[in-house]
Symmetry: C2
């Protein structure tokens, strides 16, 4: 029952030549609708299974792409992954997904395995391996939102995002602007969220404070750290209207909860802006946020990779490109003049 059905079997069954069967697979346009229909029917009745593995060996085209992500707990990563996976319908790539949890050796081992399976390219969101190392693999690579000096990348316009946030807080007449971030290196795209924020404050001559904490990937740690930031802001800027821009929606949500528990008026005493547009809508007060265009980021990543894959065999090597996608400010209840509190 599981015996392999060959072109000969199909030819015999349909009473056409093996050549015709071969043309059905490689040049179907050259056949009449009748012949095509006959072969199609035979494939079903014979329970024919195509073997793509043999094709990979023949032409090296596996149609596999590896995706390397840090983990899926941050909504941002799940959403990007989701959008990449849904490109299947348009590009037909099959995605081998790996969540490395920052284990460098394991990530290397995985990538090397993928190469042995002749994946055609890699989309990399994890930041475990420097781009200089990635480049050495010598296959098509696109990174998203991580250090990217030596490879092609798709990143959000983080500078613009921070600028939009700062301008909005300034327009809402906040007296002091605060940026809460984890420790990001200067060579990482997300560092532009600090640069853009600082520059905009400076240009508008508004006091600006950058606060960086080692948040880790843990709710309780983050909560404690943000609670200490709150205490600090209360003692330092007690009578000022505080505009707070946090580096993601999860932090923004926790910070909002701390403010509500301390009976702070929002947006009168504090304005809050998050980043990513993931859970910000589901907070007790829907949070104003900078929305990355995740669909466009994911699609551009696959398109850039496809271009690299297709130009791989040609003479002209495709050059390294850094594609920047503009984000958008989504205004909700934690900013603006409208009074909105949970009470």
């Amino acid at each position: 029952m599981n015996k392999k059905v060959t072109f000969s079997d199909i030819a015999k069954y349909t009473n056409v030549s093996k050549m015709t069967v071969s043309r059905y697979f490689n040049d179907p346009g050259s056949l009449t609708p009748e012949t095509k229909g006959k072969i199609e029917k035979a494939l079903k009745e014979l329970n024919y299974k195509s073997n793509k593995v043999a094709k990979i060996l023949a032409n090296g085209r596996s149609e596999f792409i590896g995706i390397i992500i840090p983990e899926l707990f941050f909504d941002y990563y799940s959403q990007v992954l989701n959008e990449i996976l849904t490109t299947y319908n348009d590009f037909n790539y099959k995605f081998l997904v790996f969540a490395g949890n920052h284990d460098q050796e394991l990530e290397k081992k995985y990538i090397e395995e993928l190469l042995a399976y002749q994946v055609e390219g890699l989309i990399i969101l994890s930041y475990t391996l420097p781009s200089e190392v990635l480049k050495e693999y010598n296959i098509p690579i696109v990174t998203i939102e991580r250090e990217d000096q030596y490879v092609t990348s798709i990143n959000t316009n983080n500078y613009l995002g921070a600028q939009l946030a700062a301008e909005h807080l300034i327009q809402d007449q906040c007296d002091i602007l605060i940026n809460i971030n984890s420790f990001v290196r200067e060579n990482v795209p997300a560092y532009d969220r600090i640069r853009g924020f600082e520059d905009t404050c400076r240009q508008n001559q508004i006091p600006c404070k950058i606060i960086q904490k080692n948040f880790k990937n843990d709710y309780d740690v983050t909560y404690e750290l943000l609670d200490s930031v709150y205490q600090h802001l209360e003692s330092e800027y007690s009578n000022k209207r505080k505009g707070v821009f946090l580096s993601n929606d999860n932090y923004a949500n926790i910070f909002l909860n701390i403010l509500i528990k301390n009976k702070k008026q929002i947006p009168e005493e504090y304005e809050i802006i998050g980043f990513d547009n993931t859970i910000s809508k589901e907070s007790i007060i829907p949070i104003t946020t900078v929305a990355q265009n995740i669909q466009k980021i994911a699609r551009s990543a696959v398109e850039e990779l496809k271009e690299q894959i297709e130009s791989k065999d040609s003479e002209k090597k495709s050059e390294i490109r850094h594609v920047i996608i503009d984000p958008q400010l989504i205004i909700r209840g934690t900013t603006g003049k409208n009074s909105y509190t949970a009470e």
Copy 2:
């Protein structure tokens, strides 16, 4: 530079026989440490790349497993996927992931493609294709938390989860118990959340109300529907202490926000219990919830699949099994006698 390095090349380079090189790959224990070291060094220096594609053709062992999920917007799916992916370190399976968004034809097309690539098995969380259809693919399959009559499955003990929730609400002296759910079919594991809730109420002679709504996968729709449920409960059970059990944390969070905005006392007027332990911790009041043991579910799925894969060639066909994993009630601020409100 990219020319393929063969066993002959390695043999020449190391001055050992081709047979010895072959044994390095297939029976390394039979070589002395010196010989092994010599070959290892040569592989590095020659930049040898193994070709696993040829091995798939030779022995049919692709080490690929397909994962079919509906989408990644529900945290539950991302978390299960994350846990499955991290089994790579122990089982060495590589996962081809597909998010079908309930498109039956596309899902079929994808699965058939995977078969052509000789994936060794499928883990299926989507509910687009009935298990009777899945069975026909005739390869190792494990489903998670979906209709599973004809295939092996891993499910949470949903009945126990609902029972724990109901018992907790009864113990907290709620007067009326309410279960809010989407429309789930009776042949789906999650339907046991209704059965377990109803049975427990009946056994304890506590009034019980099942409310089912067509929530769709949309925040605004869900918010409107839950707001109408809130209005209904207020008018029907105004002076009663209401114990509300919702079918996931996202719904529980939205319902909690509606209560807080309406200045309801929690847990005095309303007690709330969610399901999944995903975002419940991050709500304005941390929500009591039924936590699925996602790590165990994911691991069991891979283990069950592995068993099927390994017994595939043997005479004894492995039987269909339905593995049930117990969940756990995590008690937080939305239940219990301790008074805790946002104000």
